[in-house]
Each structure stands twice: as structure tokens, then as C-alpha cells.
Symmetry: C2
């Protein structure tokens, strides 16, 4: 897995987000058949890009969270399967790579959805045509993700505009958890798409950014918001409840990794605590999700497998040393037992609504929206 | 403020807790009139002790959190006032030092309580006798804290024993937030006192330790529990709600910095979120507090001043570098806006009970317990 500073622009790249003056998507392709992206394990302390040239690179990269965020994991998985078929287009290789990629991150349903899309597209093709078709499908999934998120952004923007009414220019104050920005997708983001669009439309906004231990994805959110010029404040995950009690939050807006048929929302660990506080303080709680995040095969969130990640994600932390160089420190010795569940499930009763590319739905109306959402997915 | 490795035993030291084979209290005195203690800004990465020889040392040490925890802050403040009176025993010096020490940490009521105790004791004495009387009062407050916490431990132990009934040897699983152990007091701790006593009595226990961002006092709790041999697991603050949903928590047990007359509990930021999750999952939520933590002058917690601490407490973090040496890394650049409220208020409706040295009281019964609690304080 080659990693280096990114010097060239992607081939099919049309990213709306700028880094150091250059527009980027979070993932792009370069000839000949290389998958490139921003290495999110290094951000915000270093900006480097990865180059995946094999399915092994993709599996390692997804597992280590070089890419992360449910929508982006799905697209990255699709490219991983395409990389495998370029090596070996047999049925056995297809099936094994599908299974290996699916096992990298068990919680987000988008990964299975995207892998199934590629598999279903190529399964009936002769082996000689599979690699190209898989690659094309992955590219289409990536482009579709951008369009989906733009639509989520427009629906969410209407919500923000409604909250702004009567505020006399005072900012709408949004609390978000984890990173559901453009880095978590191919472009735009889910929860942050309405915020980027609202800011561009001149809507006064302020974002409370949960740092999101243990992986500190809040630093990615702060990095995105700073780059786009959106006012924001970083807070400890512990602080959000207090801010809601003080009337400092108008809306909680997060992404999700899987949404069950009843509207239970599985998202980054700690989301449930914020949803409880929102409910207790009558703050609306929304999740912004593409249709591919719905898992209508699950009646509720109870059966979702919660990924248990390595304890070292808590025990050590990455930052910059006194000389400004990227460095890690250990917070606890290696004998301290650590548990690290990566997601939790917010019960539908705490969810005000789900912002999708097809509109905003309350959990109660998901059943009737199922057809339109499955069609969109 | 001299800091160095501790080599001698304290004068009036009778600590039950051992560090590297030596029994310690968190604070002790050494002749001539020096206040010594374990520097909690360095733990668990370094074990060093401070030596306060002036009120300026005490003010700086409390502000920087060399000592922390409401009960210990109170005793440390009392010694700070005694140090000042040894320099200047005038009414003006007494009044100014009382004010300056009180301003170091605005949220915990124990500090005002202890400072008032010393001031009231010496106010009517001639200047020549004030320093000695103040020192004696501070020593008495320290000794009383140890006895108080032992009593809290016994009352809490009865609660743990009740929870253990019918568990057939399976551990009672306690979740705690921040550090309310012996480091937060002179000895024993408040929330951890029942746990130490339960472990010593052969009760199977397991403690989920919230790491408690931003100051990571959970590392102090893990350090105390490891030293005492109590099974425990460190978790991100985000994880507790999920663990309660999964039925993995039997009791939430925390300390507190101030409890209002109605039972509203002000404690380390993030406590409110755990209380919400406990309530949502029918897990009992208790705060263990000495009587001096009650502030009956406040009808409820709404008027408690919430300390806003420096953003750098989030923006930088201390650990050990790859060579095992204590080191800090910055997590965010200096231009990222950071907010750092240090406490929150858990409404009484979420509080199952308050464990004091005089027994366990529900919020509803605090009014009738007021006399016995004020007498004990």
C-alpha cells in the first residue's frame, strides 16, 4: 500500500471541496487502475494520499480507516472488488473478495449494498469483461454518491432555513458527532452537506463539533469546516448535554451507518447519548443518510452487529509534538484493559427525522417511504 | 512551587492506599509547615510530589489541578489559608487569601465550606495565634475527610452487597465517571470507597471507567483500581450509553462537586449524559458525597457557576512517547476554537440516591435529612 504526498489531480475528479487551493474528492482514480484517496488516519496532522493497487491494499486501508464514513466505505469496497477482478475474475475470486471486503467493517450497511451492486453487475458476465464492468460500476457508485449527497444537502438546507426564521440573524447552532462531512463520502458529506450549502447561501450557522473519542473524527469535521469558513467550536464529547441544557443547541445533526426499518439509527459510539440529551431538552435530532443506509431487512436496530475495535485506539493518540511533527503518545500502559465498541443504536423514539435524497421522513413514516427509498438506493 | 520525587513519609500520614509499596494519602504535611501531595497533573505517566511553601504555591497548584476532586480541593484550600496566615496573619491578608483561594475553582462548594471553617476558627483570635490555629483546623479537616469517606464507603458497600444478591458470584458492574477515588479526597475516595471496601470484603466487582475527557481523570481511576487489584475496563466517554443498553451496567456511581437542596447533582462534565442513559435503561444512578458537598442555599442546580477551563485542556494531551518518556502532543492547531465547560448539572429526577456519611438519601428525602447533613458537615 503505497502512501505519499498527492501531486496530481484525479481523473474523474470533480470535487467541490478545496484543500490547499486544489479541489478534491475523498477518493478518485488514476491510471492504470489505481484507487487514490486522502489518508484519513493522518488528518488533520498530515495531508497525504494513499494509492491502492490491489484488493489487499483496499482491505488493509478500509480496516485501518484510511477511508471511513459509511458512504465512502461502500464506494471504497466497490473499488476493492474491482481491483480483485483485475487480478483474477473467477467466480471463486469474486466470492472470496466480496466476503473479505465485507468483513472489514461489519456495522455500516452501505458496504454490503455497494459490494452487492458490483457482484450483481458482473456475475453473469464472462470473466474477460468483469474487471472493466466492476470498475465502471464503482465509478458510477462514486458519482451517484455525490449526487445523492447534494440532494441530502438541499433537503437539509430547507430544515436549517426553517430553524433560522425569527432568529434575526442569530446563527442556527448545530451540534454534530463524528464526521459526516465530505471526507465520509465521496463529496459533500451527509450531515455537513446542508451546512456547507447553508453557509454558501449566507445562512448564519455555528457548529458544535464533538471531538468523538476515541478516533477523534471531530478533528476531521473541524478541519472541513475551517477549510470552508463555517464558524465552529470543538468540544469534548462530554459537553453536548450541558450545552443543550443551557439552550445553546438548536439542532443535533449526524450521519448514520445503518438505519433499521423502524427508524432506529446506528451511528458512531456516543450518538445515543446526544440523542437522549436532545430529547430531554426538546432539541430536534436528525440523521442525514443516503437511501443505501437503510436496512429494511432489520425490524429494529437490536440485531445490528456493533464492531469492537482495537483497544489501542483509546490507549494511544496521534497529534503533533512540540516541534510540530506528527507524533503519537500512549495514554495508558499496555496492561490496562480497554473496551472499544465503535457504534451504538439510537432508538427511533429519540429520532425527529431522517434526511435522505428523497426528502425528510419521520421514523413513523418510514414504512410508507420504503418503496421510494429502495428505488433510490 | 517545588516539585520532586517523594522520598519521605508524611508526618500525620495514615493512608490506606499504597503506591510502589508505600502507603500514601493524597496530601500530607512535612515540617516546617510544608504541604505535600501527589501531583495529579503528572499521573499516571509520572509519580511526583509537590511541596507547597506559600499561599501562592497553593493557589497555583489548585488552579492547575495538582490537586483535584471536591473534597481534596477543600482541604487543600484550608492549608493554603494556613500558609498565608503564617506569612501575614492580618485581617486583610485573611480576607484576601480567602477570596483568592475561593476563586481558584468556582464550582465545588467544599472549597468555600473549608475556607469558611478556617476563617471562622481564626477570625476572633489574636494575629499571633492564627497561623497555628489555622494549620490545626486544616489538619482536622483532612482527618475528618478520611473518616467521612470511610463512612460513605460503608453505606455504599451495603448498596453493592444488595445488588450482588442473586448474582451467583457474577460481578456487580459499576460505571464511574471522572475520579472520585482516594486521589480526589485525602483518603478512601467517595464513589470508589465502597468499591475498595467491597473488593476487600470479597465481593466480585467490575468497574467500567470513563476516560473523562478532556482531563482524562479516568486514567487516575484506572490507576487506583489497578493498584488495589479491582477488575476494571477503560472506555471512551461515548461508550457508557451503549453498555447500559446492552445490560452491561448494574449501577452508575459518581462523586459530585455540589448538590443543591432539591438533589440536583453538579459533577464533572458528561455526568448528565450518563444519568440520562441510566434512567433510560433503568440502571440506578448514585452520587457519593460528604455532607460538605450539599449547598442548601441553592434551591436547585440552575444557579451553580460552571467553571470554563482553558481550551488547551482539549487541544493538547499528555502521555508517554515511543521511548516511554512523558510527552505531550497537540491534537488541534492553536486557531481552532475550543470550548471547555468543566461541569454539568444532573437533574434530581435522574438521581436514584445520594450516599453520604450519614446514610443514603433519595432526592425527595433531602429536605428532611437537611438537619442531620448540616450537623455532619
Amino acid at each position: 500500500m503505497e502512501t505519499g504526498n498527492h501531486t496530481g489531480r484525479g481523473l474523474w475528479y470533480n470535487g467541490g471541496m478545496r484543500v490547499q487551493g486544489i479541489s478534491y474528492r475523498s477518493l478518485w482514480t488514476e491510471p492504470p487502475g489505481v484507487v487514490c484517496g486522502i489518508d484519513q488516519t493522518r488528518l488533520p496532522h498530515e495531508f497525504t494520499c494513499f494509492r491502492w493497487q490491489s484488493v489487499a491494499d483496499a482491505i488493509a486501508g478500509i480496516t485501518q480507516m484510511q477511508v471511513r464514513g459509511a458512504p465512502l466505505i461502500g464506494v471504497a469496497g466497490a473499488f476493492g472488488l474491482a481491483l480483485r477482478l483485475a487480478e483474477d475474475a473467477s467466480d471463486v475470486a469474486l466470492s472470496e473478495a466480496h466476503g473479505a471486503l465485507l468483513a472489514t467493517r461489519p456495522t455500516a450497511v452501505n458496504l454490503r449494498w455497494a459490494l452487492d451492486r458490483v457482484r450483481d453487475r458482473v456475475a453473469t458476465l464472462p470473466a474477460a469483461r468483469r474487471a472493466t464492468a466492476a470498475w465502471q460500476t464503482a465509478v458510477q457508485l462514486a458519482d451517484a454518491d455525490v449526487a445523492t449527497n447534494a440532494a441530502i444537502g438541499r433537503h437539509g438546507l430547507a430544515l436549517l432555513q426553517a430553524l433560522a426564521v425569527g432568529r434575526a440573524g442569530q446563527p442556527v447552532r448545530v451540534l454534530t458527532h463524528c464526521n459526516a462531512g465530505w471526507l465520509a463520502t465521496v463529496d459533500w458529506g451527509t450531515a455537513l452537506a446542508p451546512i456547507f450549502m447553508g453557509h454558501d447561501a449566507g445562512l448564519p450557522l455555528h457548529v458544535w463539533v464533538d471531538e468523538t473519542r476515541p478516533r477523534m473524527q471531530g478533528l476531521l469535521t473541524a478541519w472541513e469546516l475551517a477549510a470552508h469558513g463555517v464558524p465552529h467550536t470543538l468540544i469534548a464529547d462530554n459537553a453536548g448535554g450541558h450545552l443543550m441544557q443551557q439552550g445553546e443547541v438548536d439542532l443535533v445533526l449526524v450521519g448514520a451507518d445503518r438505519v433499521a426499518a423502524n427508524g432506529d439509527v446506528c451511528n458512531k459510539i456516543g450518538t445515543y447519548l446526544k440523542a437522549l440529551a436532545a430529547h430531554d431538552n426538546r432539541v430536534p435530532f436528525y440523521a442525514a443518510v443516503p437511501a443505501s443506509t437503510f436496512d429494511f431487512s432489520l425490524a429494529d436496530g437490536g440485531a445490528i452487529e456493533i464492531e469492537q475495535r482495537p483497544g489501542d485506539e483509546l490507549a494511544a493518540i496521534r497529534g503533533r509534538d512540540t516541534a510540530g511533527k506528527p507524533a503519537s503518545v500512549r495514554l495508558v500502559d499496555t496492561v490496562t484493559p480497554v473496551a472499544n465498541p465503535a457504534f451504538d443504536v439510537t432508538p427511533a423514539r429519540l429520532v425527529t427525522g431522517l434526511i435522505t435524497q428523497r426528502g425528510v421522513f419521520t421514523p413513523e413514516h418510514l414504512a410508507s417511504a420504503r418503496a421510494v427509498l429502495q428505488e433510490a438506493a
